[in-house]
Every structure is written in C-alpha cells, then in structure tokens.
C-alpha cells in the first residue's frame, strides 16, 4: 500500500506504508486521516533530506520497533554504530544537522539516536571551543559565567 510524501520544495516521494510508518509522526497522520490517497505534506523537510531519510527507513524497514525501556542502564548503552549506518552518516555537517532535525520532527527515534551518537563521537576529547567551532555554536556565557562554570566542574574533568 503506497503512501505519497511531499517535501518542503514540493517534490513527491512514493514509499510503502510500512517504510513511511517508521516515522511516528507520519504513522499518526495516516491513522488520523484514514483511507486516503492524498499526499502527506512535510513542509519542514527539504527533498534532499527527505530522500536521505527515506533511504534510512527503507534499509531499516524490518527492524523491530524499539520499546521504551525504563530500566535502561546507561552503562549498557552502546556507542557502536553499525557499518551501513556509519557510511550513511558520512555526510557534511550541514546534512548531519538536517538529518537530526528531520528525525526529531518526524519522530524517527533510531535515526535520531544514530545522528546523536555521531555527534557524541565527534565531541569526544574536544575542548569546548573546538566543539563550538565544529558545530557553529555561539558561546552565550559572559566571561564571569564561563570562569565560574569552569571552576564548578573542574573536579569532574579527567576522571
């Protein structure tokens, strides 16, 4: 049963319902609208990014749906990224951001996780200034605040 998705720039993508429903947002929209052939508008996602997102959902279409695990032990959480996903995430920083934004908006948890794991691996071992540079983040602390926070957390560095 095919579903049509329309991107921000009016490009139409036709995918299997099963693939589209990897996005919880889309899944809910389909349930709300019921039986319908009309395309689903995604005004927040450009075609380039939507193409990537669909590629991810196609590859992972048979993955079991992740259940929210309340006893989730952070120590057991793996930072491993499987090979296909690693290749998939080898993109420029702009696209990385777009993928994360899209995964967040479309509510595709595994894709959001992969994107954020990638970010976590990038920030490892970097100084705050280096992290800001890589991700275009503005330092919005006052110099006093910055010094204060450095002192506050100094005991926790290099544990």
């Amino acid at each position: 049963m095919p579903v049509t998705l329309t991107s921000l720039d009016d490009v139409k993508f036709t995918v299997d319902k099963e693939v589209a429903e990897r996005s919880i947002l889309i899944k809910n929209m389909i349930e709300d609208v019921g039986e319908s052939d009309s395309p689903i508008p995604l005004p927040n996602v450009s075609s380039a990014v939507l193409k990537k997102v669909i590629e991810y959902c196609e590859h992972h279409r048979n993955d079991p749906v992740q259940v929210q695990d309340e006893t989730d032990d952070p120590r057991k959480r793996s930072n491993d990224i499987e090979e296909w996903d690693m290749k998939f995430m080898t993109v420029d920083q702009e696209m990385l951001f777009e993928i994360i934004l899209a995964a967040n908006y479309l509510d595709i948890k595994p894709l959001l996780d992969v994107g954020c794991k990638t970010v976590a691996n990038i920030i490892k071992g970097k100084t705050p200034e280096e992290i800001r540079k890589v991700f275009n983040i503005v330092n919005d602390f006052t110099p006093e605040e910055e010094a204060q926070i450095k002192k506050e957390n100094e005991w926790a560095e290099d544990r």
């Binding site: 959480r77 490892k124 910055e146 926790a156």
Partner: protein, 486 residues
C-alpha cells in the same frame, strides 16, 4: 540552504546526545553554551566523590580534585551516587536527598566517634537509596543506624566491612531487609550463636547473593532458600570448617537457584561435595586453594553450563586441566587461570568456547630458541583468533610460580617454568591472526619479555580499533604503554 536551524541548540536533541556521553566526560561539553550546561550539568554531578586521598587501596588516584563545598550544595539534587569517607563529613555540608548509591569508607579500625550518627543522618535524608556500601569503625554501631538502614524502602544491596554490632542489632538488620537482593558481610564482629540465628532470624526468600567472611555461614544460609550466588571469603589460616558445614548443608537442603559459588582456601573434598549438591554450576571462583581431582570431576558434570571460571592463586594446576575447560565449555564467557603451556595447546583439541569475552591466562611458550617460540606463538594465535567476541586478552605473567604441576606431561622439553617465555607478540610470529578480534578493548602482556618493533605496534593501532587499554613493555628499550586510548 537558508537559515539552517542548529539542532544542537535544542535541549531535547542535546539530551539525546548526552545519553551517549560518558558521565565522566560530561564536564567539558557542559562548558559549550547555556543549553549544553543545563543538559550536561546533572550528568557531571551524577557521581560525586568527596573522599580525600588517604583512602583505602583501590580508591581514587592521588591528587584527584574534590568539588568546592558550595558547588556541592548547589548541585546536591543532581547527585545519585556519593562516595565519601570519614573526613568528608567535616569538610562538606552533605545536603543530598536523592541518592541511589552511598559509599562511605574509613581507614579500617579507625576511631571516629561521630561516624554512626553522621551516617545515620545521611541515611535518613535519602529514601531512594538502593545501594549502601560502608565501613565501620572501632566504635560499635548504634541502634538508630540500623533502624535507619532497614527503613530505606528501595534498599537492594548492602555491603559492610569491619563493623562491630550486637546480636540484637544484627537481628534488626537481617530481619528488616525484606527487599534486599545482595548482601556482603566482610569482617563483621557479631557475638551470636547458631541457636540465636535459628531462633531470632527470619528467612529472607528474596536474597539472591550473599558474601560472608567470619560469620556463622551455614546457619545464615539456611535462611536464604532463593540464593543464586554464595561467596565465602576467608583468609584465616585456621582451616575451613565452615565450608565443611556448607557441604553438609547443601547435601540436606535444596537450593534450587544456586548456580554461582565463590570460595577461598577450601579442601578438595568439601568443594567437590558442594559442587555435587548444586543443580547447576554457572560460575566458579576459587582463590588460594587447589582445584583438586574430586572437585574437577564434580565440575565436569557442568561443562555444558559453565559460563565463568576464575582460578586465582590456584596452585598446583596442570595445563591440561585448564585446557579441558576451553575444549569443553561452549558457554564459557570468562576464564582466569594461572598458566597454560603452548605445547599443551598445540596437542589439544579445538576450543569450543566461541563466545568467550575475557581470557586471562598466562601462556608459556618455552625456553629453547626463537623458532620454538615463534611456532608456539603461531599455534596459540591461531586458537585465539577464533574467539571473535573477545574483549579482554590478558596473557601477562602476573602470578608465576614453579609448582611442578606440569611434570606429568610427556612433552616436558620446556624445562624450568620460571625461565619460560610468554607469547611473542610480533607479526613474524603470526600475531596478525588476531585481526579477527574486532571487539578487543584490553590487551595485557605485563611481565612478559617482548621484542616488538615499531611495525608491530603500528599493526596493533591499525587493526585493533576498539583497544582502549594496553599494558606491558614492548621491547628491551623500555617502551612502556599503559594508557586509555581514544
């Protein structure tokens, strides 16, 4: 692409990133910007260590900083695990009320008159505590302390060390711990008899694991029908009547869930009896006593189920006996043993322990000449290469002792054990076969004599990508590496 919104300024996204950041590395990201500070700050303070440097061995490294007291007060609500010791109480105002774990230690047998009241106060403040791990002092414990401890509704795990308490206090503790899963009692001084235990103490059906040293083990064990793990830690020279009694008990009372046995200094017969009485043995840890023939026979019945075996300071023990474990235990995940001879490995059968994660056995390759060592190493590497799930490989010579245990081997051309070499970790000896060990995190070859070249070291860097800790001296020129790598 115009005006791309930065997802790393959205707290909900940064929160997901923080899920994959080790809390020990959260301090630096917290300094990036305001949003990141808000998200990472609780992670930074999740585990807080305010103990001073003069801690018992195994405590944090000398010179490690402690937080500033005012910052600790400001972040008390973020702290879930607090590590402190006696002096912490005078240096810090501890206002934490959401602790899940409390570790509070002392220099053993120190005198600290305020200790029990300070600890009691801390307990009373924190009703979400699940783990309490503490040392006692020369002063006896107080009733208020024990009442506070057992009234923690979420308490699951208690570890105590060097505590003086009365029999009544022990009864309050034991009977009050209905939800407790694990209990570790080290060096507990309680004047009580077996009769007292039988009459005053209740059954704890929920207790899964217990560690005992210096206490009437058998009488207590009768009260733990749900036990999964029993650990007996006794270093007394005076022999082990306790384990004799344990064997006696196990033959008469059925412990359907018991599958892990950890003992020190036991006789072969006692151990064999215990093993024989267990429905299954998934884990066996022995320290400081031999794994005799009778025990080994009893263990043999469990080869199909055995997952973890640790033989520390277990002498004498022939290589063949250790080898049999590798050749017969398909579920084995962890093995620690004193030594194994390469010659025995070469003559032995393929290993069935495909899922092995930790291999900690010194491997002796023999003395005579480079060729023998190369060939021996080559054969061992071939066996090791099949263990693709391996995360820890430790072939260092940590406990070398000449015990003649292998003198019954027909092939004894290896000569004096103390002069034996370890594995030769060079490409020439086939070390590259270990490229299959994609998951390896730790490699330890301490105290072995190596002659590695720069090329060998580079190979390790290029091929064992997940390696984080390397221990050992690479060559005679003293290149020493013991480092967490990224």
């Amino acid at each position: 692409m115009s005006n791309v919104h930065n997802p790393l300024l959205l707290a909900e996204v940064v929160l997901v990133v923080a899920n994959y950041v080790n809390p020990k590395e959260a301090a630096t990201p917290s300094r990036v910007c305001r949003t990141w500070y808000t998200v990472f700050r609780p992670l930074v303070w999740q585990t807080c260590d305010i103990s001073d440097d003069r801690l018992r061995p195994g405590g944090k490294p000398l010179g490690q900083r402690r937080p500033r007291p005012k910052d600790m007060v400001k972040n008390a609500h973020n702290i879930r695990e607090l590590i402190c010791n006696g002096s912490s109480f005078s240096n810090f105002e501890i206002t934490c009320s959401r602790l899940k774990t409390l570790r509070s230690h002392n220099v053993i047998y120190a005198s600290r008159p305020q200790w029990w009241s300070q600890l009691t106060q801390l307990l009373v403040q924190n009703d979400q505590l699940e783990t309490v791990d503490f040392d006692g002092t020369r002063e006896a414990s107080t009733l208020k302390f024990w009442e506070a401890l057992v009234s923690r509704p979420a308490l699951k795990y208690v570890r105590m060390n060097s505590v003086n308490m009365s029999a009544e206090h022990f009864a309050i503790f034991w009977n009050g711990c209905r939800g407790l899963r694990r209990m570790e009692l080290y060096d507990i001084n309680v004047p009580c008899t077996s009769e007292f235990i039988e009459e005053q103490l209740e059954t704890l059906p929920g207790l899964e694991a217990i560690t005992i040293s210096h206490l009437a083990a058998t009488a207590l064990l009768r009260l733990c029908p749900g036990l999964r793990l029993f650990r007996w830690q006794n270093y007394d020279m005076g022999g082990n009547g306790q384990l004799q009694m344990l064997a006696f008990l196990l033959e008469r009372q059925h412990f359907p869930h018991l599958e892990s046995l950890q003992v020190t200094r036991v006789e072969d017969l006692e151990l064999a009896t215990c093993l024989g009485a267990m429905d299954r043995v998934k884990e066996l840890v022995i320290e400081g006593s031999p794994l005799g023939l009778q025990s080994f026979d009893a263990l043999e019945r469990n080869f199909a189920k055995l997952q973890r075996i640790s033989l520390e300071y277990v002498f004498p023990i022939p290589s063949k006996r250790i080898l049999v474990l590798l050749e017969s235990c398909p579920l084995l995940k962890y093995i620690r043993a004193p030594k194994l001879k390469a010659s025995a490995i070469v003559l032995g059968k393929p290993w069935v322990c495909q899922d092995l994660e930790e291999f900690r056995v010194s491997i002796l390759v023999g003395v005579s000449g480079k060729t023998t060592i190369r060939r021996g190493s080559q054969a061992v590497f071939e066996r090791l290469s099949k263990l693709t799930r391996l995360t820890h490989l430790d072939i260092g010579f940590h406990y070398m002792q000449d015990d003649n245990s292998d003198s019954d081997d027909s092939d004894d051309s290896d000569g004096d054990i103390l002069a034996c070499q370890g594995l030769d970790l060079t490409l020439e000896s086939g070390f590259s076969q270990l490229s299959t060990l994609k998951n390896l995190e730790e490699l330890d070859f301490s105290y072995t004599v190596q002659d590695m070249s720069a090329e060998d070291v580079k190979w390790i860097r290029d091929n064992l990508k997940k390696l984080q800790v390397v221990k050992g001296i690479c060559n005679r020129h003293g290149e020493y590496r013991d480092q967490p790598q990224n």
